[in-house]
Symmetry: C2
Subunit: 148 residues, 2 copies
């Protein structure tokens, strides 16, 4: 374990997050998602629910602020008008860790295509359905720019 880094971020996940660059995306998916099939780089988080994994990742991963949208979630039955409890919990975590950044609900097929093209994917054991989110990595601004 390391000082100041959540223990949930194991060596493999931490290395993947550190290796990602600006604009790279990571999908965090639920326990039923075909992650082994879809992932370009798969990190398993068996036994963990989605919300604590999302929260831990956002403690170290900057969210892209070069683009209007950088946080995306899947939708109940593919319909962006529908929202489940797990999506509300995602919104709470995103509001805390990436204030002001909107969590965009995507149509089913669009979300899955984007998840498949993500740099990496984290397979949780989240039992709730449609509990998937994509984060687009931003930049760490240099010190003295007022944005760090």
């Amino acid at each position: 374990m390391l000082i100041g880094i959540p223990a949930l971020l194991g060596p493999e996940l931490l290395a993947v997050l550190r290796a990602m660059g600006h604009g790279d995306e990571i999908a965090i998916v639920d326990g039923n998602y075909p992650a082994e099939q879809d992932a370009n780089r798969l990190v398993r988080a068996d036994g963990l629910d989605l919300i604590p994994v999302l929260d831990a990742i956002l403690t170290v991963l900057p969210v892209d602020d070069f683009v209007p949208e950088a946080l995306f979630r899947s939708s109940v039955k593919g319909d962006p008008q529908l929202i489940d409890q797990v999506h509300r919990e995602m919104e709470v975590v995103c509001a805390k860790r990436a204030p002001g950044r909107k969590l965009v609900a995507m149509q089913g097929a669009d979300f899955y295509a984007r998840a498949r093209s993500a740099h990496a994917m984290v397979a949780t054991s989240e039992p709730r359905l449609y509990a998937n989110i994509i984060i687009r990595k931003g930049v760490i601004y240099p010190q003295g720019t007022g944005k760090e």
Copy 2:
């Protein structure tokens, strides 16, 4: 995920447990243990505490009843006379999943030598110290023997 198998048992851990035979041992260790250094076969369980991992493993892994002792734990400061809360919680899980089998407190150096020689090791993020346990795998008796 699979029917009747705890989601916490991911594909790698499940495969390791299934591959183990009678008398093979598996150590489940806390977040500070040098598992990468010591393990013959390492399975990571980052973000998980020890007790739920122990409980999930014992839902599918039979404990050896050919020998008088098959469950071993490390001790506070290496002293088997000392017991911490996490050891009491181990005892509760062992009593539930392997009734009648004693959890043996081992002297520090003896425990670590045994853990190093175990077939496999699971590295949890358990924050409490001296929170390590070794399970010796038993047999699945054939149907009709009255022991299955």
